[in-house]
Symmetry: C2
DNA sequence: CCGGTCCGGATTGTATGCAGATTGAACGCA
DNA sequence: TGCGTTCAATCTGCATACAATCCGGACCGG
């Protein structure tokens, strides 16, 4: 096959970055970011078995960088070598989702409290604007923007917690929970916005205890929602 | 080059497994386990830059599976593509070590308390025997066995915590802290054995609060030791 | 003596070829 | 019809070839 075939996706590498250093632009990174994005967009569903040649052709790369990218994603837990031989997009079930939330319930309040008072006003304001924009917009078709603002808020106190390892763990857990939310959860925009606003209030008023409580309440709300929603 | 050149290492795949399902035996897994072992044995030091062809020849594989294995290790944080082009064995500095311990101090007591009462007696006894063997043996040259018993103990309550996600996070954090301990810390066998025994006592007597405290004390002891030891 | 340029070896990035394993379907036999 | 067998298409595992890039040192001009 002619490997010069055009790539189907218009994904610029780094589209998902949130303030990280720019990754070197090679095909492995392109695969990595593309597949991540495809999973987040549900173009690749949990449990889906990946055929290397097909995906490689779709992305316009050969199998070698594709496999390397998939191995990296395996290390991060987004895909698994399911039993047999081929890679499978990781499927997060309700049980694992709740377990992840349990760990987040331990870590994120801690991070929020630690970050309290160390977050630049400007950053808080930016996240607040994002939320306001979401409230103003029509209630439809903003799920993508909603995920983004969700990321922004949680990243806000994770990054400013003063503990990079803690932040990294939170990010990783959020990858898992996001995977499930994408696949199984309906709109939760309204309660999220409300709870996020409360978290921002606490962070802004430098009230560590309140921030901790607000974050914990938020995550517990997610647990209840999942239990109530998922069939 | 003749790829049939003999592998230098006598590493059987799965040597580091602790009750996990056996990984399929392919060269990528061999690379993965071998490099992990080499790092743990200080044959590959933190910050060391990996030359693909050389390491591939050492392991008796071609560059393709070598690179795939390294990509996977990158996903897990054992190696990084440091700035430039080649892979570099991750170097954990004191700051990151302490940050990781801080997170472990949050998670591991939680896991220990959760596991309390759910651990088969036989498993506790096995770990206790391992510790006893270590105490009996000469104080020299057992650092490898010490690491292994360390793994066994922490794995004991992580695996039985009832939360696989939590267990996975603990494992991941312990990879980081172990990396530092291998590189920078001297013998800490005696205090470790003592503190591990106390943890086992608490677990065995099904005293959740005591287990939590014992684990927390152990991790804090590690923090103090690092601060006191590292120049 | 110093700085710059050019060249060659070393090293990584990527594609491709091939062998072995697997799957599924067609086919024959009871 | 039901079941085992065989064969072909498919797919992954791995090696290797080649291109692109990088690094260091020699050489040349000032």
């Amino acid at each position: 096959m002619d490997q010069a075939g055009e790539a189907v996706l218009g994904i610029e590498p780094g589209v998902t970055d949130a303030g990280e250093a720019a990754a070197p632009s090679n095909l492995v990174n392109l695969v990595y970011t593309s597949v991540t994005a495809m999973i987040r967009r549900r173009q690749l569903r949990g449990g889906h078995s990946i055929v290397e040649a097909k995906l490689a052709a779709q992305l316009g790369v050969s199998r070698t960088p594709l496999r390397e990218g998939l191995q990296r994603l395996e290390g991060e837990g987004l895909v698994v070598k399911g039993g047999g031989r081929s890679f499978v997009v990781r499927h997060v079930d309700l049980g694992e989702y709740l377990q992840s939330l349990k760990v987040r319930e331990i870590l994120e309040p801690e991070a929020a409290e630690a970050a309290c008072g160390h977050i630049p006003e400007a950053e808080i304001a930016a996240v607040r604007r994002e939320i306001a924009g979401l409230q103003a917009g029509s209630t439809m078709l903003h799920t993508d923007a909603h995920w983004q603002s969700d990321d922004a808020l949680h990243e806000l106190f994770a990054r400013n917690s003063g503990n990079d390892v803690l932040a990294q763990m939170i990010r990783r857990l959020r990858v898992t929970t996001r995977l499930f939310e994408i696949a199984r959860l309906q709109d939760r925009v309204a309660p999220d916005l409300r709870e996020h606003a409360q978290i921002l209030d606490a962070l802004e008023s430098h009230d560590g205890k309140a921030a901790r409580k607000a974050v914990q309440a938020h995550i517990r709300s997610l647990q209840r929602f999942a239990l109530a929603t998922v069939r």
